[in-house]
Structures are given as C-alpha cells and as structure tokens.
C-alpha cells in the first residue's frame, strides 16, 4: 500500500523563480533564503518520495473568473507551465501520474469532496517555484506530481476546517492506493503578505510564528480562524495558509517536525518553510 511519508509547506513568491532563473542562489541577498532549503534536499534524499501531491493556488494562469473551481485536481500525464504575463521564464513540463490521479479523484468524491477534474491544467508559479526550490537543477529528479488547485482568487473561499478535512481525505486516498509508493504532500503559499489595498505590504511576524508552531503541534487550534480572520491577521494573500492546512490534514499519523525557516521579506512576503515527517499508522478507515 502507498504511504504518506511527510509534508512540506513552502512559500512560492514569484521573485524566487526570477532569482533561480538568473542563478542568484549565492547572491548575498538571496543566499540565506536558499540555504534554508539545503536541509530539505538532504531529507528528500533520505526519504526518496515516489510521487508528490502539490496543493497550490492558481493566480490566473489556468483559471479565470468565468469558471472558478474551489478545488481542482489534475488528472493528466503531464502539466505545462506558461507565460503568466509579468516576466517569469516558462519552465519545462512536469510529469504526472494519471492512474494515481484517478484513484485520488474517485476516493475524494466518494469522501464527499465534489472536486473539479482537469485533464489539462497549466501550473503557475505557485506550483513551479516550490518544485524548483525542492528539486533544484542540476540535481533534478523528476518526481511525478498531482497538482491540486484551491481557489483563493474569488470569495467565498473554502474554510480552514474544510481545507484541513480535504487534507485528511487526501491522506486517506493515498493510503488506500494499492501500489507500494511513498507519497509526499506539498502545500504552497504564505506566510503573511498583502498585495492589494491601502494595507499593501502588511506582514505579521507574530501571527506567522504562532502558525509555524501550531501547524505542527496543535493544527486544530488554528481551525478556529475564519477565512476573514486569516485575511485580517495574515494579510489578504496570507490566506494561502489554507494550503498549509491541507498539507497538515494529509498527515495520517505521528508527525515530527524536521525543519523550518522563516525569512522576512522575500519581495512583499514573509517566507516560510516547513518539513514534517509522517510516521504512518498504516491504513485507516
């Protein structure tokens, strides 16, 4: 049977992608940030995932306001990146695992998550930047992925509790997959930041540090926050914490924190990174 081996949450700020494209990893401004990912590379080398479920939010590359799914799951054998309009270089396609995707889709819908299935799905910087951070060139190892996009563009957004429950359903789906594979769940986005309105540039270090602690030890305490509370305390785009809640919900057993970093600012954002190892209790009902 498949196992959830752990989870990673990381920011996905576009400027990180630009820095990677320009080879600025050792530039004095960037080095402390990129160095924060070295322990993650060592951990990934150790745990050797076979597949990654990547939970992110599309920023208007694949989805427009004409049709805006709350939860969309990729069901393709390949996912392409494309021009987002403001200059981030397009990166090579990522391989998918359509067989696993359809198992996940069957399981989620049976679990009463009426998701949208996507046989074509462009993945934006919120998917590609974390992948580049976690598997940088030249050490690139093409782990197949299943992208899951969550609407954070247009309200109403799913509640923190709903996202956590989605994570739990993803965890159950993974551990009911018959193939013996090691699955990593990645949640991207956050931490506090705000791009629009007179409060643009809002960062809340105190709240971010609270989240970094409670995500590990007491995630259900964070579910007391409404989406509007998150907007207030983490900034309008800080609601991307929802992706962290999905990742955390997908951890099926005993969770051990392996690593975290917090770095302010990257562009307009408080950047966070967290690695959780999941000691699976095996198949659950």
């Amino acid at each position: 049977m498949a196992r959830v081996i752990g989870g990673i949450a990381t920011s996905h700020v576009p400027s990180i992608g630009k820095a990677i494209a320009r080879g600025w990893e050792n530039h004095p401004h960037w080095k402390p940030f990129f160095d924060g990912y070295k322990p993650v590379h060592a951990w990934l080398d150790e745990v050797q995932p076979d597949l990654a479920v990547v939970v992110y939010n599309d920023h208007g590359l694949n989805f427009f306001l004409d049709k805006m799914p709350t939860f969309a799951v990729g069901a393709a054998s390949q996912y392409k990146n494309a021009d987002e309009g403001w200059g981030l270089p397009v990166v090579a396609p990522y391989s998918g695992d359509a067989r696993f995707s359809w198992h996940l889709i069957e399981s989620l819908v049976a679990d009463e998550f009426d998701i949208t299935t996507c046989q074509e799905m462009l993945v934006d910087h919120a998917f590609t930047v974390p992948m580049s951070l976690l598997w940088p060139k030249p050490g690139w190892r093409a782990v197949p992925t299943v992208p899951i996009s969550i609407n954070t563009v247009q309200f109403p957004l799913p509640t923190p509790t709903r996202c956590y429950k989605l994570g739990k359903a993803i965890g159950r789906a993974i551990e009911s997959y018959k193939k013996d594979i090691r699955v990593l769940v990645i949640g991207t986005g956050g931490l506090s930041h705000q791009l629009d309105g007179e409060r643009a540039g809002y960062i809340n270090k105190k709240f971010d540090l609270l989240c970094l602690e409670q995500i590990v030890n007491d995630p259900e305490e964070l579910l007391r926050y409404s989406v509007h509370d998150l907007v207030r305390d983490a900034g309008a785009q800080g609601v991307e914490l929802l992706m962290w809640f999905v990742m955390r919900g997908a951890m099926t057993g005993q969770v051990m924190e392996k690593h975290h970093t917090y770095h302010v600012p990257i562009s307009n954002t408080a950047a966070g990174l967290m690695v959780l190892e999941n000691e699976s209790r095996g198949r659950r009902n």
Binding site: H59, F64, D66, W86, Q154, D196, E198, G201, H228, V264
Partner: protein, 119 residues
C-alpha cells in the same frame, strides 16, 4: 445590486474580492487575463483604446487604466492577480504597486517590509 454602491471592508485597506466586485470587474479582469499572451500585451501597447473597446470596458475602468492607478482599478472591480498581468506590461513590480497604493515611495515601502522582519 448597484454597481455604484461603495464597498466597505471589515479590515481597513483590505479587499475581500467577492461577488459584487467580481460582477463589477468582469470585463476589466477578462482583458487583464488576456495579457497572459505576449501577442495581446503587444496589441495593448500599440493601441490601448482599441484594445479596451474589444472588452467593452466602462469609462471608470478606462480612466483608471489611463491613470495607471491601482486603487482606482481595484475600485472598478479589478482583481489583483489579473491586474498584476496588466502592471507587468509597464514593468511595475509588486513593491511599486504596493508603494503606489500606500502613497509612499518605493524605497519607503521596501524599508517598511524590512522592518517587519525585525519586530
């Protein structure tokens, strides 16, 4: 629902991009979404008015675009993720977008972000 009704927010200076805004800004956002294509960005650069005509933008939206004013564009229903594609046409980065909305210089905005890490 009235398109002219002022929108009040629970957190001052912070937008909840809800259905009212999504209705108001649909045409503007649709145009901005088209800027995922380099060809469309070039077409806008060549003939801004002509390009706006194709999307049937309101006068308020056209004026906000002419003013290159992000707060006006938000008020006209623009969504920041789509507006970012429009701003990219002029090479505006997110610090410049933030500084403009705050009414401060880009340097002041960056200093504010740096200070946020030290509190």
């Amino acid at each position: 629902m009235s398109l002219k009704k002022p929108i009040t927010e629970a957190t001052p200076g912070t937008i909840i991009y809800d259905g009212t805004r999504a209705i108001r800004g649909y045409a503007l956002n649709k145009m901005c979404f088209s800027f995922n294509s380099a060809e469309n960005r070039d077409a806008y650069r060549r003939d801004e008015d002509g390009y706006c005509d194709k999307f049937e933008l309101t006068e308020e939206q056209r004026q906000a675009l002419k003013h290159r004013n992000v707060l006006e564009l938000l008020e006209a229903g623009g969504n920041i993720y789509y507006l970012a594609k429009w701003a990219g046409i002029f090479g505006m980065n997110v610090q410049q977008i933030g500084a403009q909305q705050r009414g401060i210089s880009e340097e002041e905005f960056k200093e504010m972000l740096d200070r946020a890490g030290g509190d």
